[in-house]
Amino acid sequence: MSTFEELYRLHMPVVLRAAWRAVGRRDVAEEIAADAFLALHRQLDRIDAGQLPAWLITVVRNKATDHWRRQQVEQRHADGLVTSPMRGRPEGGFAPELLDAPSLKPVHRACLVLRYVHGMSRAEIGTRLGLSDTQVRGHLQYALTLLRKELGTAR
């Protein structure tokens, strides 16, 4: 029979991935993952190892749902929809075509959209993507340099 530590080492990566995708923030994702393993620890004698990591993922999904409810994001967005419906295309000028640049890696694309479409600070982007402020700054600089090169080539 596997020990709790073995199960933790084995399943933590996939559990944290699921949590991060579900809530989009490192701090909340880690809290949810920790809660899932705490629940596992409490019921370790009743859970068959073959049920893992599906059992943990289910706990994560339930806790993520609770998180969104708790944050009242659903209500806030539902209210917002009445006066400001989500439209198909932002009004900004940062051309979406530029974001198709093949040299951009996902992290560059994510940083560009979060900063210049969502107007986030570097610190906020770091929280979302699990990066330091310096890393975000570096990714943005590199992404803008790449875009400039591609734009020059296209012209």
Binding site: L16, A34, F94
Partner: protein
């Protein structure tokens, strides 16, 4: 139609402005729409952890919005990569604990490493005090790591459900000088936690502590249960005054729970101050204390 444009980020720097100018985008072009949903909702909607109504609206928006489509595609590998890096950090302290079972020379190398870290931590605290100012505070990122991860998860939480009810009871029964009254009443209260009645146990222990203000055992049990209930600050106010009147055997336990409480309330300096003597003392909490110090030291080293 109301203006739904967000202002450009207020912290744009000179080189950032120049790069954007070179691309042909001025500040007015960077000011963007507020119509897009919070990015955290994009994958949550796809993975169906949102309520149906919101999920449908988000998915409908994404289907028509090129920015959100690209962001959703980009976020997935970013999240996965970040989660894998964070997992590696979270799992490493567990390996350190498991290493206690390692054979031969590694057995003495690990405590030696722990002692070296503890000494470093002590030196760091001493120099901070000698500088005259307050000890340097860990960055917010490190404080976040302490509550609830990875320190709390890997070192503390795996034991958490069992520690108060089992370990403290054993400790109390092992204390020869403890009379039947306060310790036994505390044990009765701890029994309630086995039946899932944490709040009742806390209330009962508050009563026992009030009746026997000179007894340290009920305060220790109360502090541990308050921690389990997530009330770290209250735990500190209960544990701190009772620690000094505790017997030698229980004082390490007070220090351990105080370290946990300080860590969970984000005060890593005070947590480290409690952990250093525990780590060096070689008692039952020594390995956990060294691992916790290791964790705090690693967090600071990666600043």
């Amino acid at each position: 139609m109301t203006d739904t444009r967000r202002p450009a980020p207020s912290d744009l720097e000179q080189d950032e402005r120049q790069a954007l100018d070179a691309l042909g985008f001025g500040p007015e072009a960077i000011a963007t729409s507020a119509n897009c949903p919070d990015p955290a909702l994009l994958l949550a909607a796809r993975d169906a952890v949102l309520a149906d109504g919101l999920r449908d609206r988000v998915n409908a928006h994404v289907a028509a919005c090129p920015f959100c489509q690209r962001l959703a595609q980009a976020l997935e590998p970013c999240y996965d990569e970040a989660a894998d890096a964070a997992s590696a950090q979270l799992v490493s302290p567990v390996r350190a604990l498991a290493a206690r079972r390692l054979p031969s020379a590694w057995r003495w190398l690990l405590p030696a490493g722990g002692l070296a870290l503890a000494a470093s931590m002590g030196w760091w605290l001493v120099t901070a005090i000698q500088d005259g100012g307050p000890p340097p505070q860990p960055p917010a990122q490190v404080a976040e790591l302490a509550v609830p991860t990875p320190f709390a998860v890997t070192v503390l939480q795996p034991n958490r459900p069992d520690i108060p009810a089992r370990d403290i009871e054993l400790l109390m029964r092992g204390e020869e000088q403890v009379g039947a009254t306060p310790a036994d009443q505390a044990i009765d209260a701890l029994d309630l936690t086995r039946r899932g009645r944490l709040d009742d146990a806390i209330r009962q222990l508050e009563g026992v502590s009030a009746r026997y203000p000179e007894a340290s055992e009920p305060a220790l049990a109360l502090g541990a249960l308050l921690l389990e209930a997530g009330a770290a600050e209250r735990a500190i106010t209960v544990l701190e005054p009772a620690r000094d009147r505790a017997s030698d055997g229980l004082r390490d336990e007070f220090d351990w729970y105080l370290a946990v409480a300080y860590a969970r309330s984000g005060r890593l300096n005070q947590a480290a101050a409690r952990l250093v003597p525990l780590c060096e003392g070689g008692g039952p909490r020594s390995a956990l204390a060294c691992a916790a110090l290791d964790e705090i030291g690693s967090s600071r080293a990666t600043r």
